[in-house]
């Protein structure tokens, strides 16, 4: 179960701090349903994200978007997540304004997790979780994961591949 309080306003983590009910933003980890790690491997901060859906559409996708309560997703949903499972958390996060912002940012251009964090003013950890959810739902595609390990000592072939990449980088920088 989520370590989160069921209702942040009624049960403030700080022990009763009086948060305005109409606060314009939610706490970053509310957005992710309390999860701080992506459901799979950590995304490198330089991994590139590509939007696969039309961002004006609801970012819900087949199999994820038609669940009960899908039509009620409003900002209030994030303040009081009642999440049956991590996948429910994932589904909820897909409908949020933060996820829509990620889809907007990555439409028509590849953008790294770090750049999304900077442009959307979201912590890297939050972007990772949301992008992982969006990727799992098929709304975005993530690139650049295979380059994450430039020199894997366990794989002799990776050395040659890494050298080729480094050669290109070297030539590219030299030509700047």
């Amino acid at each position: 179960m989520s370590p989160f309080p069921r209702d942040a306003r009624a049960e403030h983590p700080d022990g009763g701090a009086d948060e305005a009910v109409d606060a314009p933003s939610v706490r970053p980890y509310m957005v992710t349903g309390g999860r701080t790690r992506p459901s799979g491997d950590d995304l490198p901060i330089e991994a590139l994200v590509e939007c696969l859906v039309v961002p004006t559409d609801p970012p819900a996708v087949p199999g994820q978007g038609a669940g009960p309560g899908a039509e009620n997703r409003s900002s209030a949903t994030y303040s009081a997540p009642r999440l049956a499972s991590p996948s429910a958390a994932a589904t909820a996060s897909l409908a949020g304004p933060e996820s829509r912002r990620i889809l907007e940012l990555t439409t028509g251009q590849y953008l790294s997790v770090a750049e999304i964090s900077a442009h959307a003013h979201l912590p890297v950890g939050v972007v990772r979780v949301l992008v992982a959810d969006l990727a799992e739902a098929g709304a975005v595609r993530v690139h650049g994961l295979t380059q994450a390990s430039l020199s894997d000592p366990a794989d002799p072939r990776s050395g040659a591949a890494a050298l080729a990449v480094l050669e290109s980088v070297l030539n590219g920088i030299s030509a700047l």
């Binding site: 701080t36 590139l48 039309v54 770090a114 799992e136 098929g138 000592p153 990449v165 980088v169 070297l170």
Partner: protein, 211 residues
Amino acid sequence: MAFPRSDVVAPAAAGPAVPQQGGQAPPTVVKIVVAGGFAVGKTTFIGSISDIEPLSTEAAMTEHSVGVDDAGMVSDRKTSTTVAMDFGRITLPGNLWLYLFGTPGQDRFLFMWDDLVRGAIGAVVLVDTDRLDQCFPAVDYFESRGIPFVVAVNCFEGVARHALDDVRSALAVPADVPVIYTDARSRAATKQALVTVVQTAMRRLAAGTTG
């Protein structure tokens, strides 16, 4: 489950899939880490060569950030904070994107570096000779993890006040670690520092693959 990789993710799940961005294949991404003491010129270094205006990202320091973002209430017993990481990007021929990530410049953020350096080509350790000790943690870090790095003495005012050999012996870096002068404000000098990092990484890689 493993994170869906770009080469295996099923596009069929995407519904109304749009073509890839402008039909262009995704760039190959690589990164170099820029480390050094606080205010040694990392962001200047990145900005001198970046294609984009250097950006600053919020990196949550811990997993315990929930509920403590209103500093007014909890500043006296804050259990976590966020720290900005500056970064830039250079577009290289061959559809290559090189990211430059500046490390958070204080020792207490060292634990964040694992994430930053994972998969990096290597690192530039920027050194201010007036505050040489500030780069010790970075040198120790990259050396202990076998990450290729270059010590770049940032010459403020363009004056080399310390002989490079003195810096080398003061830092006690191995002979295969280049110690060079740089000027964080100069595109040409920054470029040369990056070239040196890549060359160092290539030497390391070649040595590793042949024996």
